[in-house]
Amino acid sequence: MTRPRSKQMTIDEVVAQLTDGMTIGIGGWGPRRKPMALVRAILRSELKDLTIVSWGGADVGLLAEAGKIKKLIYAFVTMDSVPLEPNFQAARQNRTIPEICEWDEGMFQTGLLAASQRLPFLPMRAGLGSDVLVNNPDLKLVASPYADENGDFEEFVAVPALKLDVALVHMNRADAHGNATYLGPDPYFDDLFAMAADKTFVSCEQIVDTAGLTTDVPVQRVLLNRMMVTGVVETPNGAHFTNCVPDYERDEKFQKHYAASVKDPEAWAAFKERFLSGDEAAYQDAVKAFHAEQD
């Protein structure tokens, strides 16, 4: 029987496809279903000068702290239960990220949609009158060619396409060909990230055969079709310490430990040594040991 090709790969094979200066979109939302195993792999790599596009959480904080980001496009960076991400805050307050683009969070969707539809921009009200336009002087306005009910030709923000070189997303299940499901409450915008990117790499909790994707799962949960996907990598607990419900909730204890460690240079050095100095397997072992100590 002929089958679509397998795209299964390792974390290192994903990172080997990334190069300096790339624009990388990171899926998920804040502290929810982030491709953290792939983010950790970037932290370990020699990659630099990245443009990061993210509805941000600790992914942004960690990459900023590691000096990987040349340009950041974000609307917020938060870990929810810890509202302000301390590494991101420090990066902003010490001005260590050379280029900063703070957008409205809905503008992100519009920018990704434009890229996914191969349009240079899409019009939107968001941004008008706010400092988003002041602080992003590259954002231009576009006039409606149609008069409104008052005879005005309204001027909108022309949200530029957020064209990505690479999208990284984390899903609950995928097959080896790149079809993938989310089993939690929200798809976020992972399909848009995938369609806005030249290459999309999907990490997932578990690789199953294609039929297994829709066993007891409605087909509407198959968010990604394989034609949008370049590579698939199985990374159990790979969204840690963000959530990946129903597989697991956010690791609040670990998140607190992360946030507290960042605020003290010695504690932060110890955190990095303990959790971020080895590969993904070492990370997962260190997290297990951390919880064993806590219990």
């Binding site: 609307a75 960076v77 307050q93 703070e102 968001a126 009158g129 706010s130 409104d148 008052n150 929200d186």
Partner: protein, 260 residues
């Protein structure tokens, strides 16, 4: 059961004032951010505006009205973030956001304190405030009224006030609707001259002078300033026994006696 006859607390006055902000909204999506807004909007749904559409703040529309921070019992729909953006643009929404700074002209800042290039204190980022304020009704909740929050001019404009919206043109002003600004001391709208903040009522036990003292710009103050109404006994029963039996509200707005 909490005694419904005991003294009405400041948090309960705020809950009723917030409920009143949602009372006339009809069948639209009420999006309260924070403890008291969540309590107040749910109070509105159980009293003045049963048609209000509410979510669990994550991805589900609530069929019933569970206590604040409780899981949905009945669900009436799906509202993941992508659909929230759809509803923002559709316009049938009233969001009540927090604000680190609000200025005289009703601009709001949740982005950062200090210069944008290198803030003294980086906050969340502008989130959805720019889009909310030019698309749907927006109110602000300030649990701790002070001249550090109510400033002459915000450092960064995240949420757009009516004057800035008008200056930005019809596409910005057409749907701009800054409805109420509610603090632990008073209720305001944007009805002052030249689209400035106007004092609508002071909470019981608060004087106009106290509000003026705690505000960093000149407010529009009518000659007669009424007192914010107290919740009635039915509302107190709902607040105390149904929506917030654990009294989470007092953590956001402590009882006045305790702070003196």
């Amino acid at each position: 059961m909490t005694d419904v006859n005991s003294t009405v607390t400041r948090a309960e006055v705020c809950a009723a004032a917030i409920a009143d902000a949602f009372a006339e909204d009809g069948e639209i999506f009420g999006s309260p951010m924070g403890t008291l807004p969540m309590l107040g909007a749910r109070l509105a749904k159980l009293t003045s505006n049963p048609d209000l559409v509410m979510s669990d703040g994550e991805s589900l529309y609530l069929g019933g009205v569970p206590p604040i921070f409780a899981k949905a019992d009945v669900v009436e729909g799906w509202i993941p973030f992508r659909r929230v953006f759809d509803v923002v643009a559709y316009g049938k929404r009233h969001v009540m956001m927090g604000a680190t700074q609000v200025d005289k002209h009703g601009n709001q800042n949740i982005s950062a304190i200090g210069p944008f290039e290198q803030p003294k204190r980086q906050l969340l980022g502008s989130r959805g405030a720019p889009g909310n304020t030019v698309n749907n009704r927006t109110s602000y909740w300030v649990p701790k009224h002070s001249s550090r929050v109510f400033v002459e001019k915000v450092d960064i404009v995240s949420g757009v006030g009516p004057k800035a919206a008008k200056e930005a043109g019809p596409a910005a002003s057409k749907y701009n609707d800054i409805h109420r600004i509610i603090s632990n001391l008073a209720v305001f709208d944007m009805g002052g001259p030249d689209d400035t903040m106007r004092l609508l009522s002071v909470h019981p036990g608060v004087t106009v002078d106290e509000v003026v003292e705690a505000t960093g710009f000149e407010l529009d103050i009518p000659s007669e300033v009424p007192t914010t109404r107290e919740p009635d006994s039915a509302e107190l029963m709902i607040i105390r026994n149904m929506l917030d039996p654990k009294n989470i509200r007092d953590r956001e707005v402590p009882p006045v006696e305790a702070t003196k």
